[in-house]
Amino acid sequence: MKAMILAAGKGTRVRPMTHVLPKPMIPLVRKPVMEFLVEHLKANGITEIMVNTSHLAPVIEEYFRDGDRFGVQMAYSFEGDLVDGKIEGKAIGSAGGMKKIQDFSGFFDETFVVLCGDALIDVDFAEVLRFHRERNSIATLVLRDVPPEDVSKYGVVETDASGRIVQFQEKPSREEAVSSTINTGIYIFEPEVLEYIPSGVEFDIGSQLLPELVRSGQSIYGITQPFAWLDIGSVPDYWEATSLLLRGSVAGFTMPGEQIRPGVHCGINVQISWDKVHIEGPVYIGSSTSVGDGATIIGPTVIGSGCVIQPGATVRECILADYTRISSVAVLEQKLIFGSKCIEPSGKYLDIEESQIRWLMDDARNKEDLSEDEQLLLEEVKTLTVS
């Protein structure tokens, strides 16, 4: 079976992280989300994977390249232009992306899977395929039950007893919703569906292709599976997903690095005196990181590689990107430090440059001395808070 990973989105709800990384490349405990997906597809025998790329396309393409490092074959369909030497994404919708590939090479010449590149899943594709074949379906949706209060975030679906889809509702209110079963954006299609997508225009699967199929008298089906679904569509979701993984609540996930003791893992070349630092797991400390004496690290926390946690600093329930330096006077609680931003679980953030808090947190590679004012401020804060 072949697959297409949709990786062309802008990821606006995960800003400011997506200013620098396309959403599928956001790391969940060190590994890009999309890498988990590729591994899962491979484990399900799916080894020819097309990926549509747009926003920050090179980050994805340069990481996965031809896919052989991952035991699969991967190729890209770039949606955008090169303007003044700069790559500019111009996405054409999920179905538009499929059609572009088909028009180019007829790649989809057998049953294929289409799914979003920004969620960790453990869907049993063999089961979905069996269901799809049994019903002679040209389009099968993987559905999931969610708590009724969450339906307004999703496309709600109603099926009859045979699994045939009888109604779609886009983000309905709880009262209007006909069910609490939602479309997860994971599909199995027959090549025929591509005939229903016009060429060269923006076209979306959920809101355009599926209704068009139904309008044309096609029967499409949905199978509800209770699978693990870690979606990183927003900063709060990303936080929750990281926390679940660290706490061991997701089957099949293994912590990277070496285990120092239960709940505490680290990479290599780590500078730390384990008896002089207070650590409560689950914590991962990245390679080449330095943790000073008297520091406190409370999990669930991921500390990137090349970080410097200065003596006495407190880091509690944080996710720190590579090369983050945390000053001795800092107390970080529930912060995501990424791309010179200090982000709260709500998504609100401080810009480290704009707020001039280099003396509190900075890029560890920055050898520039603090300004006199910053030095003075640091000393004053130290004096006031040492008691």
Partner: protein
């Protein structure tokens, strides 16, 4: 540097009417509040409810006012918005300063 003042006996409530307490306002802010201290004000309630951005200079200005408070007097902060609270929590200064939610709570907390 716009401040609204309200005297309460020998104490004063100063409401900062700027939305940004940054490098460009820090010095003026220090001087403005400092002038009340020069005039013999005892304790100060600083209402920060209109401030939605503070950087290191703004923080430094508040610290320097704190250091200037005469012995036995108090500086109480109130109305801190999320960005301001964040800054104080990040530096542990939320444990050094008395921070109240509202002006009324802050005034009640004044022990004079």
């Amino acid at each position: 540097m716009k401040l609204a003042e309200r005297k309460i006996g020998a104490n004063i409530v100063l409401e900062v009417l700027e939305s940004r307490l940054g490098a460009d306002k820090a010095v003026a802010f220090k001087e403005a509040v400092g002038s009340y201290l020069n005039d013999g004000v005892v304790s100060v309630v600083l209402d920060l409810s209109k401030v939605n951005f503070i950087d290191s200079s703004g923080l430094g200005a508040i610290l320097s006012i704190f250091k200037r408070m005469p012995k036995g007097s108090e500086l109480i902060l109130c109305g801190a918005t999320d960005p301001v609270t964040s800054m104080f929590k990040l530096t542990r200064l939320d444990r050094v300063f008395t921070m109240k939610k509202t002006v009324d709570e802050a005034v009640s907390a004044l022990s004079l």
